[in-house]
């Protein structure tokens, strides 16, 4: 027993170091890319308010008010437009402003100045002028935390053109203007400049929203599938006013897919 105690006192710094590292890395691994939970909501409430204050100091008030009105009007128009285009499927759109955005990390995120009290909730897609940007993963009363396409922890479902093949869209953390479309069948036909659109399969966005265009480069072939570069349409350096959208009947579609015999696979 004494030997054990001597050992502990001799190496106490190393032991404390490993304990603290285990705590920090455990926290990091469990939350990286998907920071969720009660603390994030509290932190969002505080940080969102401060971020908004910071933003207000650097904004022209009159122009800002005008932008808000235009954005709200845009949201209404888009909402009715998507309802018509998507076979009657109802889409609710809320306008919001980005009060914080990180774009230099591999796990980027952004914070919106609207939260659950404004109708925003996790699972909603975020777009800007019809271009897909990311999705909300956490919402406090007045602020929401979202992950953009340029976060290497998340993947998106995308389609080449309106009727082309569907593939996985991922970001490799090298360039905020480019992403990769993976697992394309080798029979897929496409050309540089072709539009890459949302597939609508994940429920964050309706089908057909612009993500980017196929880059002018040779596709990589791994023996079975193709990987191609995408030039992203969104300018992540200058995000400001955005729209958060939810597909109203998506929950019933999800419930239906959960009830199938192979659900969960």
């Amino acid at each position: 027993m004494r030997n054990l105690w001597n050992l502990i006192t001799q190496y106490h710094i190393a032991l404390v170091f490993f304990a603290l590292q285990a705590l920090a890395l455990g926290w990091f691994v469990s939350s990286h890319g998907y920071p969720r939970g009660k603390w994030v909501q509290r932190s969002l409430a505080w940080q969102g308010a401060w971020n908004q204050q910071m933003g207000q100091w650097s904004r022209l008030v009159e122009l800002d008010a005008l932008n808000r009105e235009l954005l709200a009007e845009n949201a209404k128009l888009r909402s009715s437009m998507y309802r018509t285009e998507n076979t009657g499927r109802e889409i609710s759109i809320h306008s919001a402003q980005v009060v914080r955005f990180t774009w230099t990390s591999s796990a980027n995120h952004f914070i919106l100045n609207q939260g659950s009290k404004n109708g925003l909730k996790p699972g909603m897609g975020v777009s800007q002028n019809g271009i897909a940007l990311g999705r909300i993963i956490e919402a406090s009363d007045h602020f929401s935390l979202a992950l953009p396409i340029i976060n290497q922890e998340v993947e998106w479902s995308a389609r080449i053109g309106s009727a082309g093949p569907v593939a996985r869209l991922l970001w490799d953390a090298h360039d905020i203007g480019r992403a990769q479309l993976q697992d394309l069948p080798r029979s897929a036909t496409f050309s540089p400049g072709d539009s890459v659109l949302t597939s609508g399969f994940q429920g964050y966005f309706p089908a057909g929203m612009l993500i980017g265009w196929i880059a002018d480069e040779t596709p990589e072939f791994d023996g079975q599938f193709l990987t191609i570069g995408i030039e992203l349409a969104a300018d992540f350096r200058s995000l400001n006013y955005v729209e958060a959208m939810s597909i109203m009947d998506w929950e019933s579609i999800e419930a239906l897919s959960q009830s199938t015999p192979n659900s969960g696979s």
């Binding site: 106490h12 710094i13 404390v16 170091f17 603290l20 590292q21 705590l23 890395l25 796990a107 935390l145």
Partner: protein, 172 residues
Amino acid sequence: MNARFAPYLRVLLPLILQVVFFQYVTLVEGWWYLGFHLLGILLLPLQRSGLFVLLFSAGMGATLDFTCHGGGLFMSSAVFMGLFIPIVNRLLAPREGYEITDQPTISYMGSRWFIARALLLLFIHNVWMFSIEAGRWDLLLLAWGKATTSAVFTAAVFALTLLLTQRKVRSR
């Protein structure tokens, strides 16, 4: 200002500034990362035990993680740097050792000592932080590049901050 509170303020002020201001600073596409809270850890008295430095660094990093959605990244990096602080202090110790009144600032230890210590410790911190944050082997070189440029930039900012805010006491 009351001299009793000065050491606490010197350590906590950088953390407050990082949370309310410097976390928004993005320079040269992230190649110049500024972790201003690290100045608080670097300014801990030289006589503090290794255990205290570790625990203090953990607290500092965790506070930043809670307020900036770091998810443990800042805590892990601060603890990693905290482990090396006593080692670097011994490495850079004057031949006759540190005096009880010595403080890890430019005014007490001189600019060469401060910059060498800050560069070494910030490099260690940044390499750990950017490597974990990269999360993939193919991004490691990029991460180490950012770690190096950020360490140089941050050390320069720290030196400038101390030169502008501290009175000259004596140089060793």
